[in-house]
């Protein structure tokens, strides 16, 4: 439940960063003279609030890559809404970011860690949770390890 809420929060924030950057594409000077800037500031505040909320649930090294999906979203907006040309290098960048985020979101141990409600619990969950996948990975690689949990 928390994970779902966090995810929706994050995607909410990401969409907001996306639209702000789209505003910026029109030119920073134009944006300053533009009434859009008020909306932009509101969106930025909204993004910041959701970002802080996410930080209260999960590690910085978990939240930060996840927010970088905003870049991907921005590129997709550029492609499908603004009909900009997206070069192969940018597609590669999108693939790399998506892969990286998938990598970090892959293990259930990370969501469990995100659920911990205070710093002490987070730290405890972190050490136990982070060890488990490493062990599992070693086992998969054929390393002799008898410590299956």
């Amino acid at each position: 439940m928390f994970a779902a809420a966090g995810d929706s929060m994050l995607s909410h924030g990401m969409k907001q960063t996306g639209s702000i950057s789209v505003d910026h594409l029109q030119g920073v000077i134009l944006a300053i003279l533009n009434p859009w800037v008020a909306i932009g500031i509101l969106l930025l505040l909204g993004f910041f609030a959701t970002y802080m909320t996410a930080l209260s649930w999960a590690d910085l090294t978990y939240v930060l890559p996840a927010t970088s999906l905003g870049y991907v979203l921005l590129a997709l907006v550029a492609k499908f809404v603004l009909h900009e040309q997206v070069s192969p290098m940018r597609w590669l960048g999108i693939a790399l970011i998506t892969g990286g985020v998938g990598f970090i979101a892959g293990g259930p141990e990370l969501t469990k860690q995100g659920h911990a409600s205070d710093a002490g619990e987070t730290a405890a969950a972190m050490t136990t949770a982070a060890k488990a996948p490493l062990r599992a990975k070693d086992a998969r690689n054929g390393a002799p390890s008898g410590v299956e949990p």
């Binding site: 928390f2 809420a5 802080m52 909320t53 930080l55 209260s56 649930w57 590690d59 910085l60 090294t61 978990y62 939240v63 930060l64 890559p65 970088s68 870049y71 991907v72 590129a75 290098m89 940018r90 590669l92 960048g93 999108i94 693939a95 790399l96 970011i97 998506t98 892969g99 990286g100 985020v101 990598f103 970090i104 892959g106 293990g107 409600s117 205070d118 710093a119 987070t122 730290a123 972190m126 050490t127 949770a129 982070a130 996948p133 490493l134 990975k137």
Partner: protein
């Protein structure tokens, strides 16, 4: 000479935003689970607690410094260099800082993720 300026401004951005992120993360760990807290004491109290946290205030200050460094960097260098360099170095710097200052367990999975995202951001922003 100009590139020296540009790169020192980029390093200033990276340093300030890493400091800001670490302080903000620490502040939110001190405030605690925002969802649970909101149900217990209400939204206003959560906002008050967050804004009253010294780490939060220093973090926001560092973010402001990062923003002005960005303006300086942009006045000296091209966007196509400054934006990707600052963004991707910030990801790497944050992974290192989170390990040492927040004592987060940055395992192999997270290093790979941080590097992939940094490379991807560099390609996208470039």
């Amino acid at each position: 000479m100009k590139s020296v300026y540009t790169w020192s401004a980029i390093l200033a951005i990276v340093f300030a935003s890493v400091v800001g992120d670490v302080l903000l993360a620490r502040a939110m760990k001190q405030v605690g689970d925002v969802g649970a807290l909101r149900r217990r004491v209400g939204v206003i109290a959560v906002i008050g607690r967050t804004l009253g946290n010294p780490n939060f205030l220093f973090g926001v200050t560092a973010m402001a410094v990062a923003f002005f460094s960005l303006l300086f960097a942009l006045s000296w260098g091209d966007v196509s260099l400054v934006a990707p360099a600052a963004a991707s170095l910030t990801f790497i710097g944050n992974a290192v800082a989170a390990k040492f200052f927040l004592h987060e367990r940055v395992d192999r999975r997270r290093w790979i993720a941080a590097s992939l995202v940094a490379a991807g951001v560099a390609l996208l922003a470039g």
